[in-house]
């Protein structure tokens, strides 16, 4: 697979993709479970109730207090992660003639994360969306990983983005806790996007967003009149960038500020990424920060 750099994958394999909230996995894994289990990590005391297994009674506490307390331990479970990747026409954009497109960046990101997840024993699923979505359920087998790679390799960015509806549909379809990683340019109305994210959070999904932007899309440093053709709808607009530049930057700034504020409010792991930024560096920082947050107990 062209989009997978084995050198980077090898270096990143020393890190693990952690979650910030307890998961409800089907098998034992690396991640904290929402239920009590049999791990060595003490969780809490609770009063004995009839029917409890007396082997978990803490006799020392009984000897001191003459009361029955049950000792409980944390459970470790595996993780279901869903990669939601934007394949709309706007993902073809790049300002660099010899550089990769936004979709190339997104594909490398998704492929590497999928590899890391499967190799740490977690299940990974994939949703590709533009106007409609294509889903691959979460599995943790090597054959499933190849199937995922094949799907990514065959994807062609085209059509208009329907991210809001895609996330709503996703939230309704996947109700068990999961890590949802969205990779997109997020060119949509922010309030609607935040509604969709709120919907995901309602089902206690841990949501991370990779927001991919080209530096030209922020700087907007054209000097001559330009006919802008929308990469999704094909509509065009002739304007003098020197005239609208200031207002454009204000619009971008307002959009990003609102988006950041919303993500903070709903505890979304929001990662703003320029396309000319080092892919390995961006992913390393993401993984490290998640590990740190997981150690703090998801705070």
């Amino acid at each position: 697979m062209d989009f997978l750099d084995h050198g980077i994958v090898g270096r990143l394999s020393r890190l693990q993709l952690a979650v910030r909230t307890p998961m409800l996995g089907s098998v034992t894994g690396l991640h904290r479970s929402a239920t009590r289990g049999a791990s060595v990590e003490f969780a809490e005391y609770r009063k004995y109730a009839p029917g409890d297994d007396i082997k978990f009674l803490d006799w020392r506490v009984f000897a001191r207090t003459d009361k029955y307390f049950i000792r409980e331990f944390e459970a470790d479970t595996n993780l279901r992660c869903y990669l939601v990747v934007d394949t709309s026409g706007s993902m073809r954009y790049t300002s660099s003639p010899d550089g990769g497109t936004r979709f190339d960046y997104a594909r490398r990101l998704a492929g590497t994360l999928a590899h890391l997840l499967v190799h740490q024993g977690d299940a990974v699923g994939l949703t590709l969306f533009s106007e409609k979505a294509t889903d691959l359920p979460a599995r943790h087998t090597a054959s499933h990983l190849r199937q995922l790679y094949q799907l990514l390799a065959n994807a062609k960015p085209q059509g208009e983005s329907n991210i809001v509806q895609t996330l709503h549909d996703f939230a309704e379809r996947i109700r068990s806790r999961a890590l949802v990683i969205v990779v997109s340019d997020l060119f949509c109305e922010v309030p609607e996007l935040l509604d969709a994210i709120k919907h995901l959070r309602f089902y206690k999904h841990d949501v991370a967003i990779f927001h991919l932007l080209d530096r030209q899309e922020f700087d907007f440093d054209f000097t001559r009149p330009v006919r802008f053709v929308d990469m999704e709808s094909g509509a065009d607009l002739i304007t003098d960038p020197t005239v609208v530049r200031e207002a454009y930057r204000e619009a971008v700034n307002e959009y990003l500020t609102t988006l950041r504020h919303g993500c903070t409010q709903f505890r979304i792991d929001y990662r703003f990424t320029y396309l000319d930024q080092s892919f390995e560096g961006a992913l390393t920082e993401f993984l490290i920060q998640r590990i740190r947050q997981a150690r703090k107990g998801g705070r």
Binding site: R14, R227, E232
Partner: protein, 675 residues
């Protein structure tokens, strides 16, 4: 507002529109970019357009105004009013060239009784108030002497600006103005010429304009024309063509003191046809006749019996009814006993007797005499008495040629006829062509019937030149472009041509009265022609009785007194009858002043003075305001620069925060984590 170069207004407009045109072209030269972040662009286009477009339009406006004012400044705009007074710089010297010819006494406009001259003086006085730092010099058309004025605003009170009955020589006046500027080494000057654009005064075909134009080009002098031309209104004018006393038959060798006064007048009517009364005053007796005018111009011959010539001569005037222009309603004349006229015929041919008979047909009359001399005795001509010399001989000897030259320059008339034979020279520069013979006679088809020796008679009858047949001719050439052809043959070759030399005339006829040449000897043409030339040459023998005001100049020692006391008369420039030492002279306006033929200012100035900084004005005097235009250009340049450099037209908003890549929404602080 007027401009030095008013015919390029279209280019000025184009220059002013250049920023807008460039802007539009720039908009058309767009490149196509496939763009993903259209959501921001559409919002920005809505929001920014109002503010940014206002800024864009203001920039375009400032740039257009900048160019407009710069081009305006280069076009040297001139304005009147308070702006002109505030902005105009006064030149060191202003030379006022005032045309106060007779035609300037016409009304400036139908609603105002002021004449064009008075209007010109008002404009000049008004303009002089705005040029207080300047020195003013007046040059008028009669004396043409530069007159420095202490106070130009009082120009109307000067005697040198009073009305005259003279003509104006505009080129000569301008030459005097340029002479004055050159002589006084003036740093900056303006020449203000006030004129009604009468073509005869401007002499626009004269070669002098080339010299004037080159001198204007070499001097820092601006030419300002105060154009006072106006459409010709209803006007009647009268002019004198001739006044001649013809004595009655008297005793042999005596001149009678009674006879007939023959007047030829010309009346111009630019109004409706009609019958107009003519009031005639002659030697104190007044009479009136009615004159019917059906055409714009009528020439009228009048005859009056004179029972006894008054001592010193008689005089009179003919007046038309009053109209808008009073100055051209009166014509003066004077007459006196004619001096005896003597003709000298230089020829060794038999036809000489025919010439003598034509010059003195009645041998009993003492006022017409003729003598025939062979060419060898040409030196014996009575030079002091002769009025006409008829020459039918070869080239005169050098002494005789010199005498002939003096005779003609003194007012005499030389009439030359061919001698036959090969081409060769005649007297006083006349060149004869080769003799041509033709069985089918040469005929005269065109001749000058208004003036000259072939003009029609007093009663309006034409001379019978059409009946003249010439089987032999020898076409003369005067060797000068200013020669006047009085009559031509059917093939366009001249029959009679003449040249003004000094105060007299040299004429040459293409055929001879001899029977083998032509029928000229029949006398129907030859007699009146010779008689008229004899009278023309007679002016050298006696001072004129009638002259043109301005052209006739009394000597400084003579004190001429006007016979009319109703108004102020100055013989240097006023029409009237004047007397000095028993001698009379009647002065009238120049004929051309009554002809309504004016130049078009717009066409004339670029043609006559292409090198001069010229400006034509019909109203108030205007001043140049290019310094204001330059200042305005600078202001617009600064405004454009400030606006172009400003980030926004409105108070600047906080600069957008550049997002930090990788910053998480939950935690932005980097943490080192051991793996």
């Amino acid at each position: 507002m007027t401009f030095d170069k008013s015919d390029i207004s279209g280019w000025v407009l184009l220059a002013a529109l250049m920023p807008i045109i460039i802007h539009m072209l720039n908009r058309l030269r767009y490149k196509t970019v496939h763009w993903a972040a259209m959501i921001f662009l559409l919002k920005a286009n809505k929001a920014a357009t109002r503010r940014a477009k206002l800024k864009q339009y203001l920039l375009l406006l400032f740039r257009s105004l900048l160019i407009l004012f710069l081009v305006w400044a280069m076009l040297r705009p001139q304005v009147g009013g308070w702006l002109g007074r505030a902005a105009g710089g006064a030149p060191e010297v202003v030379v006022i060239v005032l045309d106060r010819s007779a035609s300037m006494e016409a009304r400036a406009n139908p609603d105002n009784p002021d004449s064009k001259r008075q209007r010109a003086l008002q404009l000049i006085a008004e303009a002089a108030k705005n040029s207080k730092g300047s020195r003013f010099v007046l040059i008028e058309n009669v004396l043409r002497d530069p007159l420095e004025m202490a106070d130009a605003s009082a120009i109307a009170s000067l005697q040198m600006t009073e009305p005259t009955d003279t003509a104006a020589d505009i080129p000569a006046m301008l030459r005097r103005a340029l002479d004055y500027l050159g002589k006084n080494k003036v740093a900056s000057a303006e020449v203000w010429l006030a004129s009604d654009m009468q073509r005869s005064n401007w002499r626009d075909e004269s070669a002098e304009w080339r010299d004037i134009n080159s001198r204007f080009g070499g001097q820092d002098a601006r030419f300002v024309l105060i154009d006072l031309s106006s459409p010709q209104g209803n006007n009647l004018s009268i002019g004198l063509k001739s006044a001649e006393f013809r004595p009655a038959k008297a005793a042999p060798n005596a001149v009678a003191d009674k006879g007939t006064l023959a007047l030829s007048i010309e009346v111009h009517n630019s109004g409706a046809p009609g019958v107009f009364p003519l009031r005639i005053t002659r030697d104190g007796a007044a009479s009136q006749i009615d004159l019917t005018l059906n055409s714009p111009t009528r020439r009228e011959a009048m005859k009056f019996d004179v029972s006894k010539m008054p001592e010193g001569g008689g005089w009179g005037k003919i007046e038309l009814p009053a109209d808008d222009v009073l100055a051209d309603n009166t014509m003066y004349f004077s007459y006196r006993l004619p001096v005896p006229l003597h003709a000298a015929i230089v020829s060794d041919k038999a036809v000489a007797k025919l010439f003598a008979a034509a010059a003195a047909p009645d041998k009993t009359r003492a006022d017409r005499t003729a003598e025939v001399l062979p060419p060898a005795r040409a030196a014996d001509i009575k030079w002091k008495e002769a009025a006409l010399i008829v020459w039918q001989a070869g080239v005169p000897s050098e002494p005789v040629a010199k005498k002939l030259q003096e005779f003609v320059e003194g007012g005499g008339v030389l009439l030359a006829f061919p001698t036959g034979g090969d081409a060769g020279n005649g007297p006083l520069g006349i060149t004869w062509g080769t003799a041509e013979n033709q069985k089918d006679p040469f005929r005269v088809t065109i001749w000058d019937e208004l003036d000259g020796p072939l003009a029609h008679t007093d009663n309006g009858a034409s001379l019978p030149l059409a009946r003249l047949e010439a089987v032999r001719r020898q076409v003369p050439s005067m060797g000068s472009d200013s020669a006047h052809v009085y009559a031509t043959f059917a093939d366009g070759r001249p029959f009679l041509t003449g040249l003004h030399v000094g105060a007299g005339y040299v004429l040459a006829c293409a055929t001879s009265p001899e029977p083998e040449w032509s029928t000229l000897g029949d006398g129907f043409v030859l007699l009146p022609m010779v008689q008229r030339l004899l009278v023309m040459g007679g002016t050298r023998l006696a001072p004129p009785a009638n002259a043109v005001a301005g052209e006739w100049k009394p000597s400084d020692q003579e004190t001429w007194i006007s016979l009319e006391t109703d108004r102020r008369h100055d013989p240097r420039w006023h029409a009237g009858v004047y007397k000095y030492n028993g001698r009379l002279i009647a002065l009238n306006r120049p004929e051309a002043e009554d002809v309504p033929d004016t130049l078009n200012t717009g066409e004339m100035l670029p043609k006559l003075l292409p090198n001069a900084k010229t400006k034509a004005s019909r109203g108030e005097q205007e001043s140049e305001i290019w310094p204001i235009m330059v200042v305005a250009t600078m202001i617009f340049m600064c405004l454009e620069m400030m606006l172009a450099m400003s980030k926004s037209l409105l108070p600047a908003k906080p600069k957008p925060r550049v997002p930090v890549p990788g910053a998480g929404a939950t935690e932005n602080k980097k943490t080192e984590v051991g793996v």
